[in-house]
Symmetry: none
Subunit: 204 residues, 4 copies
DNA sequence: AATGAATGAGCATTCATTCAT
DNA sequence: TATGAATGAATGCTCATTCAT
């Protein structure tokens, strides 16, 4: 009986706890030193575990980087999907996507650095990156644009795939510049200026 | 004797020759293996010089990467400035900038890979990157936009700095996607689609 | 309840069971991967116990190797002693020793690999090896030879100690070659050829 | 001209010198600590070179061990071949082989330890070992025995292959015991006792 | 007794950089 | 200028062993 109670309340802590701690520590360490200059030992000590423990949860240093990406994109996509469900206006949907995008990165500078800088540093990763979650994220934008085209809100002559990249690229650049800027400002509001121009540009 | 003949018939300064050869070799090597996985010995052998010779022209491996960037941006900016001089319409100027941007990267895939992928992999570099030539490039776009605003062609309510980043971000994303895509297509024409939306979006 | 039932129906001491299982598993694992490349975790899983359990029966990985040796030599020596008791002719005794020696190794290739290869890889072990059971094994041979000398069957001018090493070395080489050979043949019969020459060589 | 003179007198020193030094140092280090417990850093420092230098001459730690073996066996075989050339009596030839065998190992205890102990510690190596130089060494003994059989000096009923292993095994055991023994004695003279019995055993 | 998660010491190898020639 | 042999600092990962449960 004790066991079943414990099982319910204490099922993943020992595992999930450490995995989480390592992921969080790695985000911090990668953001500060860069992926290649970060030592696994740094991550371990930042996470409060022994070096070897890292390898109980991740196969390699590279897998840690991948996991940060995967987890974040998965969360972002599913959160966005959920919020978009109850919305109708494609313009509003794009605004929401942009807002969520910048909000999430703006809320965690370390995560933003990893996404905007560290994840870009290898073609190999960029390719997998492109193949996996990134595609589903771009697909979300694209579907909304096509939806708007069907509804006659956006110009139908545009290539939705290219258009979605334009929006993504603009948002991505906002995030990158925000990271590099010394002056601190809020990232999320930049989305409005991007959307203003973008929607104006694509509207029918 | 062979040597003296070669000296006579070969007017290019041997120094510039080798510097150039190393830079070109490094672009190729970085593009294929990634910066961190590229060995200085690989670059040297690809350039046809001894390992140590690399250090007669560059202080370090990192400086080679910087030099690739600097040389290209300097050329790009001065070429753009030259061409823009004889133009009046801000819209046409932006079209020209976009075209030159994508034309240059589209003409040299290795260079494009270095610019879109390898140069992004370190915050440190991104910061210097931002500080140096990149700023002057963004400044070029920004000046053109402000010019358009003064002439009443572009909406005056827009923040020219942000607007220039949006355009850059969109073009940048086109370049990155082009590199990662397996299907081969021409990069430069993508500029038209970007400009269509962008100009539509910012026009008064 | 299950447990008590199992306890009742299972007369073999659980301790000896596991110790045996670990020893057997280790012989297999060492033979296949070599001592240094074998992980304690492999042995544990091959034995069907948890990693930590191994340390309830053995102080260290090295002690497992020693135990394999000790158990086998002890068995071999006592079995040989027992069989020799009822024999008189020193020549027949040596034949029996050789036969038992090769029979035992020939019956268990994994054990043979551990004896002929893995046990040789450390001076430290070789020294203890020499000191312990090995000495008693060589002593058995030597005593038989001295016996033969006293009886006038073997030449009395020979140094029994050296002679016993010669016989052991020849048998040992048969075993090593048998392991390394790709072609499968029976090991035990090789003993006859060794004894033929050996006895011929030492006979008075 | 200078060059050709230098080439003649100074062709390998810088290379051969260091390769030699590393090989010698490795023999010493392996003999004292065992192969698996020897660090490449130990070998390097014992050889008076930097760690990295070791890898300019050897691909890996394992290759160093192989090289020690190869060099020694090659030398031993060619030296033996040379000396046997001018001899006729097969019995004398075997005496010479045994003498050279034990003489060489007896003259360099470290080398002997590597040969008798360290080289035995891995099936993988033992197999290559068997395949390469070792085979040619055994072949030398075997050829001499067959020669003796043709001349009617040795019993023709014996399997020369097995007989050669018996002799090798006996000599090998002398060497191993010599290493393990605390009491210091000369190794080479043991060969006479082995040959006494062996020749007696195989003679027609 | 048994478990297996956690530990952390240990190490072969790489490679940017130097410098004697 | 050019060379390339030599350097040695740097680190991801393994795995024997421990110990709380």
């Amino acid at each position: 009986m004790m066991r079943s109670v414990r099982s319910l309340s204490n099922n993943r802590p020992p595992v999930a706890d450490k995995r989480e701690a390592i992921l969080r520590a790695a985000t911090r360490v990668f953001a500060r030193n860069g992926y290649f200059n970060s030592k696994v030992a740094d991550i371990a000590s930042a996470a409060g575990v022994a070096d070897g423990t890292v390898y109980l949860y991740f196969k390699s240093k590279e897998e840690i980087l991948h996991s940060i990406f995967d987890r974040t994109v998965d969360e972002a996509v599913s959160e966005a999907r959920k919020q978009l469900e109850e919305m109708r206006d494609p313009r509003e949907k794009l605004r929401r996507i942009a807002h969520l995008h910048l909000e999430r990165l703006g809320a965690d500078r370390d995560l933003a650095v990893v996404f905007q800088v560290e994840l870009r540093g290898s073609t190999k990763f960029m390719e997998e990156f492109s193949a996996a979650g990134f595609a589903s994220y771009l697909g979300l934008i694209r579907a909304t644009i096509e939806e708007g085209q069907r509804e006659g809100v956006f110009r139908s002559g545009l290539n939705a795939k290219v258009v979605s990249k334009i929006l993504f690229g603009a948002l991505d650049e906002m995030a990158t510049n925000w990271i590099l800027s010394k002056r601190r400002y809020k990232l999320a509001p930049m989305g409005d200026q991007v959307l203003d121009i973008f929607l104006n540009g694509v509207s029918a």
